[in-house]
């Protein structure tokens, strides 16, 4: 049998993880429920129109949106690595697939999960909190760039957490300081997108976000093998 290329191996890892995830839907359910709880709780007390009447609603909604995305993501993103350790399949994977392929495969899964989560959170916010997105393009750009950045910073942390004995609870503690720059910019640009800001006004924020994304991905690619082999 010919040795699979890096991308084939990465795709195989991602495909396997997606299949397992779809079978149990453990991560997806946990994340979706967190997102629903957040949106329902806010909407329940403030009413669907309560927030949008507030003059500072764009800022509040942007913060709430990213709270929902960040904490929901923290509920599920570590799952793929923790599962490997719990089921004792990590060693098998380590022996058969190059570390880089494992990383890329898991990153792909996390990106997909985050895309689903962001879609869900956005729809919930539109439905339950009456969010009007004035600049759709800017909003989508922020969400996708934010998602890629979040995945880049957290996929390697998920590996780290899986190796630690604390598991679940540690993930959020470790991730928060690292993604703080990302969250600050994402909230800022989301606020602009909701309140009708221009691309020009969001430009420097998006550039900074892109630079952060690249730096985190490079650091993760560089350090991943060491974590994975630890």
């Amino acid at each position: 049998m010919a040795k699979p290329t890096l991308w084939q191996a990465a795709w195989a890892v991602a495909y396997k993880d997606l299949q397992i995830e779809l079978r149990t839907r453990y991560a997806l359910n946990a994340m979706a429920l967190f997102a629903v709880t957040t949106a329902v709780m806010v909407s329940f007390r403030l009413g669907p129109l309560g927030l949008s009447r507030d003059p500072r609603s764009a800022a509040t909604l942007a913060v709430l949106l990213w709270i929902a995305i960040f904490f929901a993501a923290m509920n599920g993103l570590a799952r793929t690595f923790v599962r490997e350790e719990e089921a004792h399949t990590a060693t098998l994977l380590r022996l058969n697939v190059p570390a880089l392929a494992v990383y890329l495969g898991k990153l792909l899964v996390n990106l997909l999960i985050l895309a689903l989560l962001e879609t869900l959170v956005t729809l919930l916010f539109i439905g339950l909190l009456n969010v009007t997105i004035t600049k759709v393009g800017l909003f989508l750009a922020t969400l996708s760039l934010g998602g890629v950045a979040l995945a880049g910073a957290t996929t390697i942390l998920a590996t780290l957490v899986a190796k630690a004995d604390g598991k679940g609870s540690l993930f959020t503690i470790l991730a928060f300081p690292l993604v703080l720059p990302l969250l600050i910019i994402a909230v800022e640009t989301t606020e602009l997108a909701l309140s009708g800001g221009t691309w020009g006004s969001a430009g420097s924020g998006l550039q900074l976000l892109a630079a952060y994304t690249i730096a985190e991905h490079v650091a993760a690619l560089w350090l991943f093998e060491r974590v994975w082999e630890a």
Partner: protein, 320 residues
């Protein structure tokens, strides 16, 4: 012997600095007695960043060569970083309460140090959650490096959160940013002086005077001021006070033709705000910086040695 001398020297030095801070340094003209805190606050703040840097460097060295000593140094630096960040935060909060009326206000530097503390907390939480010592060192080092990649972004990101800092930056050092900025009618119209955002709204000619309309963001509020410049005497005419501050806004220089003029806007401090322009304060400040640096290195090596001995004991316990 050398270590004992070093220890005593550091102790006596810092004791002298503490005495000088209260007895020798005069009270600051603008900030009063509370200005003395700069002697302790700034060195501890700087050493927090130094500790973070050392922690990252030794983590990286540990990952490269796997020597337990390097990890002990990285861990000791992180522990000291936490202690110094607490010292800097407490002294800073005391100052903030007296001068700004609040212990905490998410000033850019407060945000940065809060993020550093969160990182240290996460780093220790990670390390204590792992029982296997080898793995503890390994994963701890990796986290320290990941955090080190993220932190520089905070430096760029944080000024976006609050447009204004209450930190008396220009009270400490007179950087070019404290001098003034050139804004042109049809060119660059936005800039920062100190940490005030300044926007040129327009320039108009009134007889011999050139009046600039500028909007200045201070303490979260936009103030519109109209400083002017006398073209005949070639001197600033109207000097405008920035509300609720001790700052005066003026046009320092004027160039270019009407329609495309460049004004140099300056925000001057009324009274002597420069903390370190006073000689005794400056001397004591450097003495304090030196003393705290000695203290830092002494504690750092001491703690790393303790961690080393601890490690050896554990290993002996395992083999027996």
């Amino acid at each position: 012997m050398l270590a004992t001398t070093f220890k005593w020297f550091t102790g006596i030095w810092l004791a002298l600095v503490s005495l000088a801070m209260f007895l020798w340094v005069p009270a600051h003209e603008g900030l009063g007695n509370v200005g003395r805190i700069v002697i302790v606050h700034v060195p501890t703040g700087w050493l927090t960043s130094v500790a973070f840097l050392f922690s990252a460097i030794y983590s990286w060295r540990y990952l490269r060569n796997g020597r337990a000593r390097d990890d002990a140094l990285a861990l000791a630096a992180a522990e000291l970083g936490l202690i110094f960040s607490i010292l800097a935060t407490v002294t800073g909060s005391m100052f903030a309460k007296v001068v700004w009326g609040t212990y905490w206000n998410w000033d850019p530097r407060e945000t940065a140090i809060a993020a550093l503390m969160l990182i240290y907390a996460a780093y220790f939480a990670l390390r204590t959650s792992i029982e296997d010592r080898q793995r503890q060192r390994y994963l701890g080092s990796i986290y320290a490096l990941l955090a080190f990649v993220a932190v520089p972004f905070l430096i760029f990101v944080i000024p976006r959160v609050t447009d204004d800092t209450l930190h008396p930056n220009c009270a400490i050092l007179n950087t070019p940013n404290c001098q003034g900025i050139q804004l042109t009618e049809n060119g660059r119209i936005i800039g920062t002086i100190e940490d005030f955002k300044v926007e040129l709204l327009g320039i108009e000619q009134q007889a011999d005077l050139t009046v600039a309309t500028v909007s200045i963001l201070s303490n979260g509020t936009n103030y519109t001021l109209k400083p002017s410049f006398n073209r005949v005497s070639n001197k600033p005419e109207a000097i405008e006070r920035l509300p609720e501050t001790l700052r005066d806004v003026q046009i320092k220089r004027l160039s270019g033709e009407p329609g495309n003029q460049t004004v140099e806007i300056a925000i001057a401090n009324t009274g002597n705000i420069g903390l370190l322009t006073e000689q005794r304060t400056l001397l004591t400040f450097f003495a304090s910086l030196f003393g705290f640096t000695l203290l830092f290195f002494w504690l750092w090596w001491l703690r790393a040695d303790v961690l080393d001995i601890n490690e050896q004991l554990v290993q002996q316990g395992m083999t027996i």
